[in-house]
């Protein structure tokens, strides 16, 4: 569930490191919506990090249960109400942020590492190496992401780790294709040819010329994908293939509240809203970054 990487610009030579960071800040600053999303995301990340301190009933986020308080409506004591075993939903939504953001981070790091490595090798080596890697990539890309994740998750025991593996397995090809395009573009540049003639080690060329060029599109893609990963992870848990009780996970919470939706709406609604808000902010920020950094859509 991501935007096609082809829509992201391939090789654009950009300054690396600090200059890039400064540019990102400037770019985001110009776009009010993206900036607002970034702020909300920071708040969500902080909430996730400090959940044990800011949650009104921190024990409810992990193991505690209070059957006597089951299904209380939202009110002064429980802002988001309580669930079937009396756990405070606000606390669980806060703890759920840790799970969801953790899953998203793990999936993206794994996908980007695997994908960029394979992509750079493919793009830079060319020839049959490129063909083999790209055909394997094509096979994986021939499955809609949720479908393959679903199939993979159904053969593994449901857990947070399973979710991460199942999603990462379907996400890396996007990064492979993206960075292969960048690497292939850079490979034919005169200065790279020159460096190669001068006997510069290929790894050094990759480090100096290929990786910095891949950074921008990969970064934009990461931001755009985070929302997609969070939605996919929630979908897997919703289908019972992801996180398990008593983990606080938004998709799982929606699933267990779904059959109560007509009588106790809050059990499914608040975790559902949390998914919506977080995915929205990541997508909005990604959009803003892409618009700003992609010369094709720059105004």
């Amino acid at each position: 569930m991501s935007i096609h990487p082809d829509t992201v610009a391939p090789a654009t030579r950009l300054p690396g490191g600090g200059a890039l960071a400064r540019r990102l800040v400037r770019v985001v600053g110009r776009d009010t919506l993206a900036a607002a999303s970034a702020v909300v995301l920071v708040v969500i990340v902080l909430a996730a990090l400090f959940a044990p301190w800011i949650a009104p009933f921190p024990a409810d986020g992990t193991l505690a249960t209070h059957p006597a308080d089951r299904l209380s409506a939202p009110g002064a004591e429980h802002w988001f109400g309580t669930d079937q075993v009396g756990r405070d939903l606000l606390s669980r939504v806060l703890y759920g942020a840790r799970t969801s953001l953790g899953i998203a981070a793990a999936v993206l790091v794994i996908s980007a590492l695997v994908g960029v490595t394979l992509g750079v090798v493919a793009g830079f080596a060319g020839g049959w190496v490129r063909d083999v890697i790209m055909r394997v990539t094509d096979v994986f890309l021939a499955f809609p992401a949720l479908l393959l994740s679903l199939a993979l998750a159904s053969i593994l025991r449901p857990s947070v780790q399973t979710t991460i593996i199942a999603i990462a397995a379907t996400w890396w090809p996007w990064y492979a294709r993206l960075s292969a395009a960048v690497a292939a573009g850079v490979r034919t540049r005169p200065y790279v040819d020159a460096a190669r003639c001068l006997g510069v080690h290929p790894i050094r060329i990759v480090g100096r010329h290929v990786l910095p060029n891949s950074l921008t599109p990969v970064l934009v893609q990461l931001s755009l994908d985070a929302g997609g990963v969070i939605l996919t992870a929630a979908s897997l848990s919703y289908l019972g293939l992801g996180a398990t009780e008593p983990t606080s996970e938004w998709g799982l919470m929606v699933q267990s509240g779904q059959s109560l939706f007509t009588t106790h709406w809050w059990v499914a609604a608040f975790p559902g809203l949390a998914i919506l808000v977080t995915a929205f902010c990541f997508n909005m920020l990604g959009e803003g970054l892409r618009d700003a950094l992609d010369p094709r859509s720059a105004s």
């Binding site: 193991l63 059959s259 939706f261 007509t262």
Partner: protein
């Protein structure tokens, strides 16, 4: 170029049309009578997976019991066996010969009259097929049809055949000649056809569709037809509880098989809807690994029993279950053993300390339960929470049955195995012989219990049930004390309560838990 593409696309589309086409009219126009006489039953999963009455062992019981009949039926409200196709029966003193008298006014839907020979042929075929629940006839040595209305069972050991003949599975009487001369009965059934004696016949079956199955009245039914009875029965598949409830509220359906307790509470106060609550014959067992791992120590098993808040779980289930009093639910011979549990975390902690577990040597237990079962998940959540309080980590895995069972039998054995059990016919023997009798290759004995005294007690149950019910009752009570209290091999967590909701104009509905989820539509009127 663009035009060529468009043209190609159009041709391809036409070819596709022609290929799938044929122009048949969908649905059976004759089946759709006025919706007033139609009873619509909502279930959350598809109805028919097996059409062969000898093999049927699954969801299709909901429709099969309206199409086929057995010799007897069991009423769990009165705990008695009642006539169905048989009008009366007697058994020899030693319980090894049973003689049934059949009705003489019954015809199969195929037109053939029912006689003792036809009944014998059906049961012989079911036994020979040895699939599904056919094992229930294990005691039967031979069946004899001395005259048209007399059917005699000769047994190799004493067994309650009247009870067995009332089984929800593998006890249907059907016409074995239904496929005609030279026809193959197996494939004839597989095409979705039936050869029963019941009040309804199959009108339409659309595998995988929302309106999966439609039954229509069998005009020559021996029980007769009166005004106000339903002439059509529709089974509508609706996976989500909330959707089913909304359909019932809108008056689109007549009966919803399963609601959750919260919606059921709402249904109870809804005018156009009537409700029914009946304790079932299905209970949930937490089976403790008595053979290996930390729970091989009986003190650890007792500690987990003490940590389990059965009353709290039942309260949280909010009416969907009642507390169990042992392995045998009410409504069966052997119930009322008085085995109950009260949570006592201090004593549980003391037992664990005695067994050598403390903060420096913490205990971790593994548990497997059914993926997608909200009620089991609720129990697991509460148990995890309680065990955490006494320093025990519970690693609970929701699994599909295949994986859960496979792991328990061949792989890394779990410490706690959670599963439902229910009898195939109204006899508590099912729990003991299947779940607690020792076996080298554990099949459903997933507490891996191997207690010779328990085995000896179990083996005498069929004979006692067939000959001396008081002695049988005493043996059942002793077994439950032994297994659940002394051996602490299991905690019976609860007995499910069937919570049904149906349209207020449906008259005459009673829930008979011996036939789980079956609505005998012929008994209803509106």
């Amino acid at each position: 170029m663009r035009r060529i593409l468009t043209a190609t696309g159009a041709v391809a589309a036409l070819v596709l049309l022609a290929a799938c086409g044929g122009g048949q009219v969908r649905g059976d126009a004759s089946a759709g009578s006025s919706s007033d006489d139609t009873f619509t039953y909502v279930t959350n999963t598809e109805i028919v997976t097996e059409w062969d009455p000898a093999l049927s062992y699954s969801n299709e019981i909901r429709s099969m019991e309206n199409v086929y009949e057995s010799l007897t039926s069991y009423d769990s409200a009165t705990e008695t066996v009642e006539p169905r196709l048989a009008t009366e029966w007697t058994s020899s003193e030693d319980g090894t010969t049973w003689t049934f008298t059949l009705r003489d006014d019954v015809t199969f839907h195929t037109g053939r009259p029912l006689d003792a020979t036809a009944a014998k042929e059906a049961l012989d075929r079911t036994i020979e097929k040895a699939g599904g629940a056919a094992y229930i006839w294990d005691a039967v040595d031979s069946i004899e049809a001395p005259d048209a209305t007399t059917l005699v069972f000769h047994l190799s050991y004493a067994a309650p055949i009247d009870l067995i003949a009332s089984s929800a599975y593998a006890a249907y009487i059907y016409d074995v000649d239904a496929a005609g001369d030279g026809g193959d009965l197996d494939s004839w059934f597989a095409e979705g056809q039936e050869a029963g004696t019941g009040p309804y016949t199959v009108a339409e079956w659309n595998s995988g569709q929302e309106y999966e199955l439609t039954l229509s009245a069998y005009d020559d039914y021996w029980g007769g037809w009166a005004d106000g009875q339903y002439t059509t029965v529709e089974y509508r598949v609706t996976p989500q509880t909330t959707t089913a409830w909304q359909l019932l509220q809108n008056g689109e359906v007549d009966f919803v098989e399963t609601l959750n307790p919260e919606i059921f509470t709402q249904a109870e106060s809804t005018d156009a809807v009537a409700t029914s609550e009946t304790s079932s014959l299905q209970n949930l067992l937490a089976l403790y690994n008595t053979a290996d791992g930390p729970m091989a120590d009986v003190r650890v098993r007792q500690a987990v029993q003490l940590a389990t808040d059965t009353a709290g779980v039942v309260e949280a289930l909010n009416g969907a279950a009642v507390e169990a009093e042992g392995l045998v639910p009410d409504g069966l011979l052997g119930s009322g053993a008085g085995v109950t549990h009260t949570q006592d975390l201090d004593q549980a902690a003391a037992l664990l300390a005695e067994a050598g577990y403390d903060a420096s040597n913490p205990l971790t237990l593994t548990l497997t339960y059914a993926q997608g079962d909200d009620n089991q998940q609720l129990y697991v959540t509460l148990l995890t929470s309680a065990l955490a309080e006494i320093g025990v980590t519970l690693d609970a895995q929701p699994l599909q049955w295949n994986a859960q069972w496979d792991q328990a039998r061949t792989g890394d054995r779990q410490d706690v195995f959670v599963m439902y059990w229910y009898p195939d016919y109204a006899d508590a023997y099912s729990w003991f012989v299947n779940v607690f009798r020792s076996s080298d290759d554990p099949y459903f004995n997933l507490s891996y219990l191997a207690d010779p005294e328990v085995d000896a007690l179990i083996d005498q149950l069929p004979t006692l049930t067939a000959t001396d019910t008081d002695a049988a009752q005493a043996a059942y009570v002793e077994l439950q004390q032994r297994i659940e209290v002394q051996d602490a091999a299991v905690t019976t967590l609860w007995t499910d309560t069937y919570q049904r909701a149906f349209a207020a104009d449906v008259q005459g509905y009673t829930d008979n838990p011996a036939y789980p989820n079956v609505v005998f539509v012929h008994e209803l009127s509106h």
